[in-house]
């Protein structure tokens, strides 16, 4: 009688493994940057002129870095969530406009200044239409800063603490549930320390 049960137990064990495996997202790669200082950069912001931003400017504050682009489809889904979230003023969100001018774009080969101007214009129009959740947004034109942050899919969101250490990373569109259950508790905890 007991012997009959062995294949059954094995079968359910296998089913349990497969069920867990199916639910996991293979695109979610644990970031080695968690607990490490946010990589340094200095980039032009969205505003006209020579205004630049660097993570050091946020020293002493808990803040969020959100990687986005106007060509990014998932960002469109995420954007209203971020806009609603930013209206509550709980945490400053800095945008990182990732490779706004894509290689297949005719403007890709033009000089840097022209590309920057075009990228700024496009981003501003887009933010005007969809709302602007960012305190500032920086232009990562060639994606090099993205590589330093381990960006491999846009949108991506980072939570960075007062000392400039990356505490959380999320790949994909942020949802209200994720904000309420994971990000907000983390931010209030980080704000206390």
């Amino acid at each position: 009688m007991k012997k009959v049960l062995i294949p059954l137990v094995l079968f359910f064990g296998l089913v349990a493994f497969l069920a867990v495996g199916l639910k996991r997202d293979p695109r979610e790669i644990p970031s080695p940057l968690l607990g490490k200082p946010a990589p340094h950069f200095t980039l032009f912001t969205l505003d006209q002129g020579d205004t630049k931003f660097s993570p050091a400017d946020m020293q002493g504050q808990v803040w969020m870095l959100n990687v986005w682009a106007t060509w990014c489809v998932a960002c469109r889904e995420e954007h209203p969530v971020l806009v609603a979230f930013s209206e509550k003023n709980q945490v400053p969100i800095v945008g990182l406009s990732y490779k706004e001018i894509q290689p297949q774009d005719p403007a890709y080969k033009s000089p840097f200044d022209e590309k920057l101007k075009l990228a700024r214009e496009r981003s501003q129009v887009w933010l005007k239409r969809h709302g602007n959740p960012y305190v500032t947004s920086v232009m990562d034109m060639d994606g090099r800063v993205g590589i330093n942050y381990g960006v491999y899919g846009v949108p991506e969101t980072y939570v960075i603490d007062k000392a400039g250490v990356i505490r959380y990373k999320f790949v994909g569109a942020v949802t209200p549930a994720l904000l309420a259950e994971k990000i907000l508790p983390l931010i209030s905890e980080l704000n206390k320390s």
Partner: protein
């Protein structure tokens, strides 16, 4: 007749697609063949983060392009293969390596299959032994032998 037309269409499309793929393959060869050879060497060992089952060498994804460019520049600045791999692991984690380092965190990955094999071999051994014991001919009692003889005679 239909068949001939179909074959012709097939032949033409094969030729067309073949030439397209050849045209694409030739592009990455840049000015410095030595550097490109090293790039291919290194990037075959690295995983493309976007299309996860392709190496960085064979991927056409945009991020792969950027990362190859990054690796090119690291080669030019005189970095060793190990330093280049460390650079990428620091940003994307062990996942970028097709051959992850052997360390406590990856022991299950490296030795798990062999452990499973050993366990399976033990089970097989035990099972075979049990079966042999079951299959051993049961001793006949004298009565049974007598009855068998009677039956065979009859």
């Amino acid at each position: 007749m239909k068949r001939v037309v179909l074959n012709a269409v097939l032949a033409v499309s094969i030729v067309l697609f073949a030439s397209v793929s050849v045209g694409r393959e030739a592009v990455p060869m840049a000015e410095d063949p030595k550097l490109e050879a090293r790039l291919v060497d290194i990037s075959q060992e690295l995983r493309c983060l976007v299309c996860q089952n392709e190496s960085l060498a064979s991927s056409h994804a945009e991020l792969a392009d950027d990362l190859r460019q990054e690796v090119r520049e690291l080669i030019r600045s005189g970095k060793s293969d190990q330093e280049i791999k460390d650079f990428l692991v620091a940003r994307y984690g062990d996942f970028v390596l097709y051959r992850p380092e052997v360390k406590p965190l990856t022991w299950v990955l490296w030795f798990g299959p062999f452990l499973l094999l050993v366990i399976a071999a033990i089970f097989l051994g035990v099972y075979l032994r049990q079966r042999r014991a079951l299959a051993a001919p049961a001793a006949m009692s004298d009565d049974e032998r007598e009855r068998a003889k009677q039956l065979l005679k009859g």
